[in-house]
C-alpha cells in the first residue's frame, strides 16, 4: 500500500467523528468569550518594569532570551540586527550618567517649566522648544519631554538600575524598513524574558549613546550599525505582572462584503 492510500479516511469515520463528545477546542475553533490561552495571557500581563532587584540575571537565561530573538521574522529574512549585552555595573552606571548629562544639557535651554510664567527666560525656552520641535517633532512630545526633565532633576535613572542591558543594534542596510524588524526582534526578546519571569523595559533615551563617538567605540557600534533603543532586563521587584491594565480602544475600520464599518 502506498503512503497516499494510508492517508485516505473512510466516510463513516468522519460521520462518527461529528458525534463524539465535546473535545478540547483547537486554537482557531475557540468560541467567543473563551478564556485567554497562555500566550495571550503573557502578552496581556507584560508590564514595562522600572524597578529591578540588585541580583544579577544568570548568563544562560540571557543567552536563552537572545536565542528566541534570533528567530524573529524580518523583511526578506535579512535579519538586520546584532546584539550587545552589557552586564558590567560600572559601565551601566557610566552609561546612565552620560545619558543624564545629555538630558541636563538639553533641558537647560528647553525646559520652560523651570521658569515662571511671564518671564523672559520662559519665553526664550518656549520659543526654542517650538523651533526644536519643527526639526524633530516626535522627540518633543510632552511625555518624553517630561521624562527628560525628570532625569535632569535626578528623579529617575535612564536604565532604572537594571543589572543587564540588551542593545539590539540595527543594520542600516536592512531590506525595506529595518526599524520595524528591530522592533519585532525586540518584542521577541521582551516576551521571551517575560516568559522566564524577568522584567524588561524599552529605553528610548539610550539613543544619546548613538551620537557619542566615545560610546560608539565602547559599545562596538560601527558603520553600518546604529543604536536605536536598549532593553533593560532584571528580576522584578514586587508583583506588577499579576493583573492586566486598561488601555484605550482604537478605532478599527472593518471592510467586509462591500461594507465598511467602524468599531472601537
Amino acid at each position: 500500500m502506498s503512503d497516499a492510500a494510508q492517508n485516505i479516511v473512510e466516510t463513516d469515520d468522519l460521520e462518527q467523528a461529528d458525534q463524539r463528545p465535546a473535545r478540547k477546542a483547537k486554537p482557531g475553533e475557540l468560541e467567543e468569550g473563551a478564556p485567554w490561552n497562555t500566550i495571550e495571557e503573557a502578552f496581556l500581563k507584560r508590564r514595562s518594569i522600572r524597578k529591578f532587584k540588585k541580583k544579577q540575571v544568570p548568563a544562560h537565561l540571557i543567552r536563552r532570551v537572545l536565542e528566541i530573538g534570533r528567530f524573529a521574522p524580518s523583511q526578506g529574512n535579512c535579519q538586520p540586527w546584532k546584539f550587545v549585552v552589557v552586564r558590567d555595573r560600572q559601565m551601566i552606571t557610566e552609561m546612565e550618567d552620560f545619558c543624564a548629562g545629555m538630558c541636563k544639557k538639553i533641558s537647560v535651554p528647553l525646559d520652560y517649566t523651570l521658569h515662571k510664567k511671564g518671564t523672559f527666560a520662559r519665553w526664550r525656552s518656549e520659543t526654542f522648544l517650538k523651533l526644536f520641535a519643527k526639526w524633530r517633532p516626535n522627540t518633543m512630545h510632552p511625555i518624553p519631554f517630561g521624562a527628560v526633565s525628570l532625569i535632569a532633576q535626578d528623579r529617575f535613572k535612564v536604565f532604572h538600575h537594571a543589572p543587564t542591558i540588551i542593545i539590539p543594534l540595527m543594520d542600516t542596510r536592512g531590506i525595506g524598513h529595518p526599524q520595524v524588524d528591530l522592533g519585532i526582534v525586540g518584542t521577541n526578546l521582551v516576551m521571551a524574558a517575560h516568559s522566564l519571569g524577568l522584567g524588561t523595559c524599552w529605553v528610548g533615551l539610550s539613543s544619546f549613546l548613538n551620537d557619542s563617538p566615545e560610546w560608539r567605540e565602547r559599545l562596538g557600534v560601527e558603520e553600518p550599525y546604529e543604536l536605536l533603543e536598549a532593553i533593560s532586563v532584571g528580576y522584578v521587584l514586587g508583583k506588577p505582572m499579576e493583573n492586566t491594565v486598561a488601555r484605550e480602544t482604537h478605532e478599527t475600520l472593518w471592510i467586509e462584503d462591500g461594507k465598511k464599518e467602524l468599531f472601537y
Binding site: E32, G33, A34, P35, W36, L44, K45, R47, S48, R50, K51, Y112, T113, K117, E126, L129, K130, A133, P137, M140, H141, P142, I143, F145, G146, A147, L150, R155, F156, L237, G238, K239, P240, M241, E242, N243, T244, V245, A246, R247, E248, T249, H250, E251, Y264
Partner: protein, 110 residues
C-alpha cells in the same frame, strides 16, 4: 480631509497649561486603599504620593504638574483593587489623541 488641520500640526502644546495639556487621572477607592505604598514605588513618572495620618495613609495624585502617563501600572500592582485610571493623557495641537475610545481592560466578548 485630514484629521488634523495644518495649523494644528504646527501647534506644539505647552505642558503646564491646563487648556493645552491634560495628563492621566486616577480614581482611588479610599475604602480599599491601605497605604501600602506599592503604587508610589512603581509609578514611572513619580506622580503618586501618600497623605493622611500616620496609621491611615492613603494615596493621591500629586498637586501641581503631575505628568501621569495613564500607564495603569499602579492598578496592575495593587493587590486591593483600589486604584485605576479614569482619564488618559491628551494634548492640544500636534499631539492630540485621535481615533481613540475610553480606556478598557482586556475584553473577551464584544
Amino acid at each position: 480631509m485630514a484629521l488634523l488641520t495644518k495649523k494644528e500640526m504646527k501647534h506644539i502644546p505647552i505642558v503646564d497649561n491646563e487648556e493645552e495639556a491634560q495628563f492621566g487621572r486616577v480614581v482611588i477607592d479610599l475604602d480599599n486603599c491601605n497605604g501600602c505604598k506599592m503604587c508610589t514605588i512603581i509609578c514611572p513618572t513619580n506622580v503618586l504620593e501618600l497623605y493622611g495620618p500616620k496609621h491611615d495613609k492613603k494615596v493621591r495624585l500629586k498637586e501641581g504638574l503631575a505628568m501621569c502617563l495613564s500607564c495603569d501600572n499602579c492598578h496592575a500592582i495593587c493587590e486591593y483593587d483600589a486604584i485605576d485610571i479614569k482619564q488618559t493623557y491628551n494634548f492640544a495641537g500636534r499631539y492630540r489623541q485621535i481615533n481613540r475610545g475610553a480606556p478598557v481592560h482586556p475584553r473577551r466578548s464584544y
